[in-house]
Symmetry: C2
Subunit: 118 residues, 2 copies
């Protein structure tokens, strides 16, 4: 798994891992049911402590992105559509918040549209 970490960022390592795996799922690079690396293995790969990966996996499991099976391994959930939808929704509402901020500052919708890559 190709995961880039930024140790300078304010975002905790474990959350960066969560975000990257969610991104890989949304991009279909990780497929439903697919097994992902064991905690210890990914810890070695990324050069972080296993507990950090454990925390990331716990978060992903609570969000329904992955399923951990004792002694078997960890797998991408079977129904990925919900994960994708949630992710898209959150990005869209993020953008809309920022559009609102631009309007408050005094830009009108036309000016804003002009500057967006659409």
């Amino acid at each position: 798994m190709n995961i880039a970490l930024d140790y300078q960022a304010r975002v905790p390592i474990y959350e960066q891992i969560v975000g990257e795996i969610e991104r890989l799922v949304a991009l279909n690079i990780l497929s439903p049911g697919e097994q992902i690396p064991a905690i210890r293995e990914l810890a070695l790969t990324l050069g972080v402590n296993p507990n950090t990966i454990k925390k990331a996996y716990d978060t992903l499991e609570s969000r329904g992105v992955i399923i951990s099976k004792s002694t078997k391994g960890t797998f991408i959930t079977d129904d990925v559509s919900v994960v994708k939808k949630t992710l898209v929704d959150s990005i869209v509402s993020d953008i809309n918040e920022k559009i609102e901020r631009l309007e408050n500052i005094g830009l009108d919708k036309k000016e804003i549209s002009k500057r967006l890559k659409l």
Copy 2:
């Protein structure tokens, strides 16, 4: 000055203050040349330590938003247009980054447009 602080947020207090003052400048609520509260005064108002305000003011000064004059007080910079422009630019590029992410996930520009409040 009406500044709302969120003590639960991951964003440090001093950065929240920086952001709020930049926002008030962009909204023309704080005008060029206008004096803003003394460090100790704002610290009392917001219920934080003066050093925290000092750090926020230092950051704002390094960004050219305010000017601190020893024994005089602290003032909004005379040329506010640069501040506004920088702020707008950063929001716009933020939005464009997210649009790109949505495209990577598989939405086309039309679908994205439909969901934006424009």
